[in-house]
């Protein structure tokens, strides 16, 4: 797979995420997928994570700000926005609009997303949801 092909896979993943279509997103992901940051292992776990996000933030949207690739990895800088309209991890809806700046790192093996790391700026997210970080 070329670097541009790997980038295209990742762009399709965010498009599926923006459609809130977890099954379409999962088609791009390897069965033994692992996200080291969000502690996600396997497709079912990934779909549950996606559905939990969409339930909490029904207008959740990812904007790709920048994307680079080298060898088998694609790094993406995103701005993620959403409104907290549903329960999220036990926090009842606050109606707050949140903005997160994130860098997602993806490893692609044989045309499927196999591994992920995330570096997220969650300060605004925690503040708006009233979550105290200790």
């Amino acid at each position: 797979m070329s670097l541009e092909e790997n980038k295209a896979i990742i762009r399709r993943y965010y498009e599926a995420a923006n459609k809130h279509n977890v099954d379409l997103a999962a088609e791009l992901v390897a069965p033994d997928f692992i996200d080291y940051t969000n502690k996600i292992e396997g497709l079912e776990s990934l779909k549950q994570f996606g559905n939990m996000l969409i339930k909490g933030f029904p207008d959740l949207h990812w904007t790709i700000e920048d994307i680079v690739a080298e060898e088998d990895k694609v790094w993406v800088r995103t701005t993620v926005t959403g409104t907290h309209k549903g329960e999220y991890r036990g926090v009842p809806p606050t109606g707050e609009k949140i903005t997160m700046r994130c860098v997602d790192i993806w490893r692609i093996v044989d045309g499927k997303i196999a591994e992920a790391w995330a570096v997220d700026d969650l300060l605004d997210f925690y503040k708006k949801l009233g979550i105290r970080v200790t």
Binding site: D66, V68, A69, E70, K73, W75, R101, V103, I105, W117
Partner: protein, 78 residues
């Protein structure tokens, strides 16, 4: 500059932070440097580093992963 040369510059910059040596910053950072996230230029960046070193004298950045394309280098650190 090749991607590998650009990575070497960033590695040196992170080593500089780990050495807490502000005198090395000018060799690695352009006078018109601008951080788009914090909206800060070189002088403010140096002030920020000085504040950081004062508050965290054992501050250590560990490079976990690094990638480069074109004129950009991305680093994942702890």
């Amino acid at each position: 500059m090749s991607s590998e040369e650009n990575k070497a510059v960033v590695r040196k910059a992170i080593e500089t932070v780990n050495k807490q040596d502000l005198s090395l910053v000018d060799d690695l950072v352009a006078p018109n440097y601008f951080d788009h996230t914090t909206q800060q230029g070189l002088e403010q960046h140096k002030e920020f580093l000085a504040m950081l070193f004062k508050g965290f004298p054992d501050l250590l950045m560990t490079i976990e992963d690094m990638i480069a394309e074109g004129d950009r280098v991305w680093v994942r650190t702890n």
